[in-house]
Amino acid sequence: MPKQEEENRILREWTPFLLRTILITAMIFLVVGLVLTYTFAPDYYVDRYHAVQQGHLIGKEKIGHGVLLGRIREGNPHAVLTLGLFVLTLVPLARVAFCFILFIRERDYTYVALTAYVLAGLIVGVLVGSVG
């Protein structure tokens, strides 16, 4: 099979699987997080909702990965919701990373360079956000 056809076949088979798996995982975390919040911390949710509405929490939703994992182990509902959002943002990262690895394997260096640029752009996004 020619190289381009083989690349397209792998991309068409694996990309939907990757997208669907991560999306479903994220949705499970978000639904479980909302159910936990509704069951154990409804007042906390309402207080935060009104604080967000008044603009008090803009720029204040930062949370370190270590702290997040610790809170998830404690069953903190808000941390489970945050994890769901983190997992959602993995969708594009994982998809581009998958293409990058595929193109390295296929030695398609033009597309290795293009996907590397997109990956770098996504990582720069995290850095730009972290510094303000």
Binding site: M27, L34, Y38, G84, R95, G121, L122, G129, G132
Partner: protein, 275 residues
């Protein structure tokens, strides 16, 4: 809490549904819905919308990629442009005054309305330009009888330039900029309309993802709002895409245009009156 959740879910399911059947994406409708009906600050609405747009793009892309409508290589080439624009846009969203964001949003609504009115048929090329050939961007789509039709691609740099603008608007305003992306691919690069729509949908995930990462890292994504909105918009978008084949979308086009113009008027009024 239940009342708040029901309100947020209703708004986001409706936004996702209308976004899917209009082909404009949920972001175009969820940002104004959160600002106007849930009284959220613009930046909160943009952050929540970016996250939900990532989800809807992933959900809607699955069938298009599997069935071969998405031109994956065109997407990867143009994502270089949209990611660049999106990171710059999301950075600027943190420093640009809300009034500017609202005015830009109004302008983008009018552009989407114009796009909805002027959608045109396919103009399939049989000869691509050298850059498109070097990047192997040509593809095939089935015709009405299921036979494959080969199409070529042209004007990659010009399409890429418009994609930088689409990315910029996405990062600034929390929308997928699908109308701009489809215009770039359909009008400038001459891809068939359905391929342009499917490819735009696919690219939106990475464009919005780049913006969402900036917002998340900056602490600008309000978990309380973004979580139910992401669920609602995804459910609405998936329901919309199921219903879409049974709807006469042509007859709804004027309704979409009216909604977009009303949103543009409301956001423009908010900006100018300082609400």
């Amino acid at each position: 809490m239940l009342e708040i959740l029901i309100n947020l879910l209703t708004l986001s399911v409706a936004a996702g549904f209308v976004g899917a059947i209009s082909g404009l994406g949920g972001g175009v409708f969820i940002v104004p819905a959160l600002v106007i009906f849930a009284h959220m600050p613009m930046k909160v609405a943009v952050g929540a919308s970016l996250i939900s747009v990532v989800a809807t793009s992933a959900g809607a892309s699955v069938a298009f990629v599997r069935d071969g409508w998405t031109n994956l290589k065109v997407a990867m080439v143009l994502e270089c442009a949209t990611v660049t624009g999106a990171v710059i846009g999301a950075y600027l969203a943190g420093v640009v005054p809300t009034v500017v964001l609202e005015l830009l949003f109004a302008a983008m609504m009018l552009q989407s309305a114009y796009f909805t009115i002027t959608k045109r048929g396919d103009d399939i090329l049989t000869k691509g330009d050298p850059l498109a050939e070097r990047l192997e961007l040509a593809g095939e789509v089935p015709d009405l009888s299921g036979q494959p039709i080969h199409y070529e691609v042209v004007n990659v740099p010009q399409g890429g330039a418009l994609m930088v603008v689409a990315g910029l608007m996405s990062g600034l305003l929390g929308i997928g900029s699908g109308a701009l992306k489809v215009m770039a691919m359909d009008y400038i690069m001459h891809l068939p309309l359905k391929v342009s729509s499917a490819t735009s949908n696919f690219m939106i995930g990475v464009t919005a993802g780049a913006g969402a990462l900036v917002f998340l890292a900056r602490g600008d994504v309000a978990t309380t709002i973004a979580a139910p909105v992401a669920i609602g918009v995804t459910v609405g978008a998936l329901s919309g895409s199921r219903v879409l084949p049974h709807l006469k979308v042509e007859s709804l086009r004027i309704v979409f245009v009216i909604i977009l113009v009303l949103i543009a008027a409301e956001m423009g009024w908010r900006a100018l009156s300082g609400i």
